[in-house]
Subunit: 276 residues, 2 copies
Amino acid sequence: MAGTNSELELIAEGPAIILVEPQLGENIGMVARAMANFGLAELRLVKPRDGWPNDKAKAAASKADHVIDATKVYETLEEAIEDLNFVYATTARERYGFKPVRSPVTATETLRQKFKAGEKTGVLFGRERWGLTNEEVALADEIVTFPVNPAFASLNIAQAVLLMSYEWMKSGMEDLSHTLFEPVEQKQATKEQLFGLFDQLEEALDARGYFRPEGKKPRMVENLRAVLSRRALTSQEISVLRGVVGTFDKYSRQNPRGHEGVAEQGEFPADDSDNG
Amino acid sequence: MAGTNSELELIAEGPAIILVEPQLGENIGMVARAMANFGLAELRLVKPRDGWPNDKAKAAASKADHVIDATKVYETLEEAIEDLNFVYATTARERYGFKPVRSPVTATETLRQKFKAGEKTGVLFGRERWGLTNEEVALADEIVTFPVNPAFASLNIAQAVLLMSYEWMKSGMEDLSHTLFEPVEQKQATKEQLFGLFDQLEEALDARGYFRPEGKKPRMVENLRAVLSRRALTSQEISVLRGVVGTFDKYSRQNPRGHEGVAEQGEFPADDSDNG
C-alpha cells in the first residue's frame, strides 16, 4: 500500500500518543508507523519493558523515523502527561467511574477543537495484555472506546492507535468523501456523439436483419439506446465502441470455427430475449 | 484491549475480504483478527505464497478461528470474485483509468446499501510489497483509497483491512457517537443539594475569616459558587465534598508539621488571589 510522496510536507501535529509499559518493540514500531500515516508525530513511552531505543521498534516502524527518533521515555504516567491539558484513556472494558465515555469520532472532534484552541492533548493506551489500571484511567479526563463486535473485541495496541490516528486525520477533513487522488478527468460525451454511436450501431444491425419482426423495431431501438444511455459514456469510450461496431460491420471472421462466419451467411438471428 | 463478551452473538456478515497473493501468514492472521473485531467473517485468498492452512496465520489471528476456518483459497482472482455483484479495489497509488475513486466512508456506505439490497460484495487487497496490478484493479467496479499523510503513506494490508472493517461497522451505526458501554448513570444533584454545600462551605470559611475585607465578600462568594456550579456535581460528589469540608471544619491537624495547625491559630489568610 506504499504511496509515499516524499516531496510533500510531512504532517506532524496533534495529540501525543502515550503507551503505558509497552512490552514488544514490534508493537511500538507499528504504533509509530500507524501515527505517521495519519500525521501524528509525538510518541511517549512510560517504562517500556525492553528499554529505549529499541531496534525491533525501529525495524517495525517502516521508516517512520521522525516518530521513533523523537520518542520520549518517562518513569511514570504522571510525568508523561504533566504538560498536557486534556487526556483520553482508551479502554475496551467497562470501568466503574464517573468519566464520560466517547466514541473515536466524538473523541477526535474534541481533540481537534482543543488542538485549534492551542491546548496540548494526549491519548493513553495500556499494556498489551491487560490495558490500563483503574488508577491510570482516573488520571484521564475522558474515556474513548471502539465500536467493536461485542463477541470478538480484541484490538492490539497498534490497531487501536491506528484507528485513533485515522479518526484524528478525518477530524481535520471538511469532506469525508475526499480522496487523495481523483480518477482522470472524465467528461461525459455530448449527445451528438452518443447519437452518432446509436446511428452507426442501429444501421449496422439493421443491415443484418437484427430488428425483426419489423413491428418490434421501435421497442428494440428504445431498449438498445437505454443500455447505452445509462452508462454516461465519455467521448473516448464512444470512440472505442464505434471502433468495435465498425470492426464487426466491415470485417468477416478470419478464422471460422468449423463453420462459416454467421455474418457472411446473413443468418445472424435477432436476439430479442432482452427486447421483448 | 481485550473485552470480548462470549455470551453475545457473533456478528458475521458483510463484504468478503479478498487478499491477492498474500505472502506472510502473520499478515493473513492479523487480517482475520481485524475482520472479526468489526463483524466481518468471509476471507478469501488468491494463491497465498505459503499455502493454506497456515499455522502462523492461525496464531496471529488471536482466536478469530471462525474467520480462519472458513477461509477459502482460489487459483485466480477471477474465480475468487465470480459470485460477487460489486467489488472495490484498494490502492494507495493513483491509477490511470476510468474508475471512480472513493474514500472509505463513501465506499462502506455503498457496501452497506448493497448488503441491504441482498447483493454480494467484496474488497480486494494487494500483495504486501506492491499491491494490485492494473489488470486486477480493472476487475473491480470502483477504487477505494485511504486518507493518509501524503508524505508518509505506508499502510500494510492488515492495517488497510482494519480501517475498511472499522468503517464497515460504523456504516451500520445510526449514531457515530454511540459507545458499547456508558458511564454509570450520573444524575446531576438538585440545586437544594448544591446550595447545602454552598452554605456549609461558606459558613466554615467565614468562621475562619476567609472573607476579608468585608466589602469583598459578595464578589468572593460569587466566585466560589461559580467554581462549584460549573462542575455539574452529582449528589454523590456533593456528599464527598461536604465530608471534606466537615473534616476541615471539625478536626484540627493531628500531626502538625513543625508548627501548630493554622486553623487553630485563627491566622488562616484569605486567599483572594483568584477572587480579585
